[in-house]
Structures are given as structure tokens and as C-alpha cells.
Symmetry: C2
Subunit: 102 residues, 2 copies
């Protein structure tokens, strides 16, 4: 009836990161931080978890003299995201709304 939800994606910040990376294809740490509103520490931890799972690839480069952490989603990550959304739908499939609104 209810499909289990991938715990790695069922997290507000990680889901936001994945959603963002899917839409932009690649993004730098400060940009992700700004878009998600996360603290650097929290973001660092969650990016690590996503990378460890193989859902994103993290490339550490330099931009001039500044370090630059570049992230992008992997095919595995994209698949996991799609599966997660499909699973989530089993929880959201509620009968059409009959209540009146403004």
C-alpha cells in the first residue's frame, strides 16, 4: 500500500539539494547554500551523505586561489530521486478535493 521512502532522500535539505542539482545540472557549494538557506555545516554533512551514497559527485577544484566545491547529480542519484517521488505518490494519492475554497 505505502511504498517505503528512501531515508536518504526523505530529508528536507538533502531533497532540496537533489532537486536543485537536477534542475541546474551542476552547482557550487555557496550557491547551493544560498538557494537552500542551509548553514554551511549542515550542508557539508548532507552533501557528504549524498556523495557517499553515490547520489551526487563532488569535485573539489580551485577557482583562482579559492577552493571550489562543485556538485552534480549522478545517474544513480537521478534514479533514486525518481523512485523516491514514485514512492511518495503512494502517500499523496488522495481522492480529488471536494471542499470549497475561496
Amino acid at each position: 500500500m505505502f511504498k517505503p521512502l528512501d531515508p536518504l532522500l526523505h530529508s528536507e535539505l538533502r531533497l532540496a539539494v537533489m532537486s536543485l542539482l537536477i534542475s541546474v545540472d551542476e552547482a557550487e557549494f555557496p550557491y547551493i547554500k544560498q538557494q537552500t538557506g542551509a548553514t554551511a555545516g549542515n550542508l557539508s554533512v548532507q552533501l557528504d551523505k549524498l556523495a557517499t551514497a553515490g547520489y551526487i559527485a563532488i569535485e573539489k577544484t580551485f577557482k583562482g586561489k579559492k577552493p571550489c566545491t562543485l556538485c552534480r547529480v549522478t545517474p544513480v542519484g537521478l534514479k533514486a530521486f525518481e523512485d523516491y517521488v514514485a514512492a511518495l505518490r503512494t502517500y499523496l494519492n488522495v481522492k480529488p478535493d471536494t471542499t470549497q475554497q475561496t
Copy 2:
């Protein structure tokens, strides 16, 4: 960009319970337990949280001589669920569901 997700609903079991109660309108503890596959302890805790938030109403009655815990979703709970779904959509970057199945 990403709307915050109500932490009370962003939980696999509580979301399943809400989804179930919305679809059936009212249900007894053992039925919810069976449908969600939760352990009794976990279910008891999560039902309490939902009730404390006013998302569900719990009525303790008797069915013959057996105690019977009856749950139903409240208008507040239904609204919260709808808001949660709307917020979730900001993460799924999928246009409002046109795909209708079966």
C-alpha cells in the same frame, strides 16, 4: 524557492497514517497498524504526536469488552496535509499532476 516542510508530516509513518485516515475517514488502531505495517509502539507514539498537534482526533471507546482506539483526521489535519503536499511539490519540480492512472 523551497517551501519548508511541516516536520510533523515529514515522517514516513505519520504521513502514512494521515494519508490513510484521509482516505477512509476513520479507522481503528489495529487496522492502521496492519495497513501501515508499523509496530504498535511506534504507532502509538506517532498517533499521539498527531493528536497533540490537533491533526487527528482519537476517541477511546469499547467494542464489546475490548478497548477500541478510533482515529479520524480533523479539518486542521487535512489543511496541514494539503499544505504539506503543496510544499513538497516545490521540491519535486514536477508540474501539478496531470497524469491520472488506472
